[in-house]
Symmetry: none
Subunit: 228 residues, 2 copies
DNA sequence: ACGGCCCCATGCACGTTCTCATTATCGAAG
DNA sequence: CTTCGATAATGAGAACGTGCATGGGGCCGT
């Protein structure tokens, strides 16, 4: 999951960053309006944490811009100073997904992000199931097949998780690269490392059950089949 | 175990503090509302001892704030003046775990804390068992393997105890650092002292039985496996 | 002052990720 | 049905990152 932190206050920024990195998110940083604007335009994120009191411009403009051309599918969480109710209302009007009054604890941030993810993908529980017996727990970062653990590396897990969230949708290598590796859009790297990870994933899953649910869509990308 | 004492009356505060430090807790202190508020938001605790008659604000607000979308996983124990029944009721309503009418004995405090710990982790007895023959007694701070004592240092014991309480859950170095060393998040110490303690622990336990129940989760942290 | 414990620095070992060369497979066109 | 170009899968190994082992120094309590 690719997250952008927009916050000018250094220590808070750093704290949140550390926490998210530890929690296995892929984190980008912006400290000013200009920086944020560029990154939002160039990259594609799953979450944007947006502080409003930015040097160089009104943070809400960023949200407005991003929502206008829906190239940015990120969920926005607004970080407001305590009591700035106006900003909250305006933010939610503009399509923010949630707001978080400062000061907030990291646990709270985490649970909001999880809640948003669940809402966004219409999940009821934290676990994702697929392929007749596999069960992925995003919080514990574990995968099980009928009660036995399946050991995956970090990248393998992230890849599987992302495919699973967008089940039945075809994901291009570009999209996977952006959200899981933070690659910029245009670098058409002739590398095939995503293919390699797909292969490794199939191999590991294949030890338990035929991994035909992870389909190749020739010329486009990969896709996780829905259950039947 | 990380404890925050919120109490403005100096001598009582000091007395409790001394006692808890002696009992091998990791103790933080707050004497005012503002101080308490900051510490609660920055750190993560296992217990918060909360006096309600605070200078600078109503202590119940702290509890309310903390409980609003699980900001803190800490257990709150409210310290009430004798007879202030209203506060007790309000406190328990807001999700306090217990209350303690002043004056109270330190032994009583200790037994309440132990009771809460047992409740929180669903334990019936005081002892935690694991790895086919090990038995950890939290009160006596002793570890035995089939009736023979295993000598552990303070940090080794605390580490083992904490992992055991959260059995099957992966604990990051960050979490261990916060709860056992009281580290704040931002010091990104690239130190490996937690690894060292893990190693020493494994070595000591390994003298009695294979210590494979203490698993490494690469890139994340450590985890105590459940018994089979 | 002494001993033990805790923290830190270093070097090594191993697992993970990525690159590259090669082989297999697909799909369109003849 | 066959051929051919494009695309994907594979295997091997290089580069990188992370955890583990070890020993020394400093700090604390006795």
């Amino acid at each position: 999951m690719h997250v952008l932190i927009i916050e000018d206050e250094k220590s808070l920024h750093h704290e949140v960053q550390q926490f998210l990195v530890q929690s296995q998110y892929l984190v980008d940083s912006a400290y000013t309006y200009a920086e944020a604007s560029e990154k939002i335009f160039v990259n594609s994120y799953d979450f944007v944490l947006l502080d409003l009191g930015l040097p160089g411009g009104d943070g809400l403009d960023l949200l407005r811009e991003a929502r206008r051309n829906d190239r940015q599918e990120a969920s926005f969480i607004i970080l407001t100073a305590r009591g700035a109710i106006d900003d909250r209302v305006k933010g939610l009007d503009l399509g923010a997904d949630d707001y978080l009054p400062k000061p907030f604890s990291l646990l709270e941030l985490q649970s909001r992000m999880q809640a948003i993810t669940r809402r966004k993908f219409g999940l009821k529980r934290q676990e994702l199931t697929f392929g007749n017996g596999f069960q992925l727990d995003a919080t514990g970062r574990t995968l099980r097949y009928h009660d036995q653990d399946v050991a995956l590396t970090k990248k393998e897990f992230d890849l599987l998780h992302y495919l699973l969230l967008h089940k039945t949708r075809v994901l291009t290598r570009l999209q996977l690269g952006e959200h899981l590796w933070g690659n910029v859009l245009e670098d058409d790297s002739d590398s095939n490392y995503i293919d390699v990870h797909i292969k490794n994933l199939r191999k590991k899953l294949g030890q338990f059950a035929p991994a035909d649910f992870l389909e190749t869509v020739r010329g486009i990308g990969y896709r996780m089949a829905g259950d039947n």
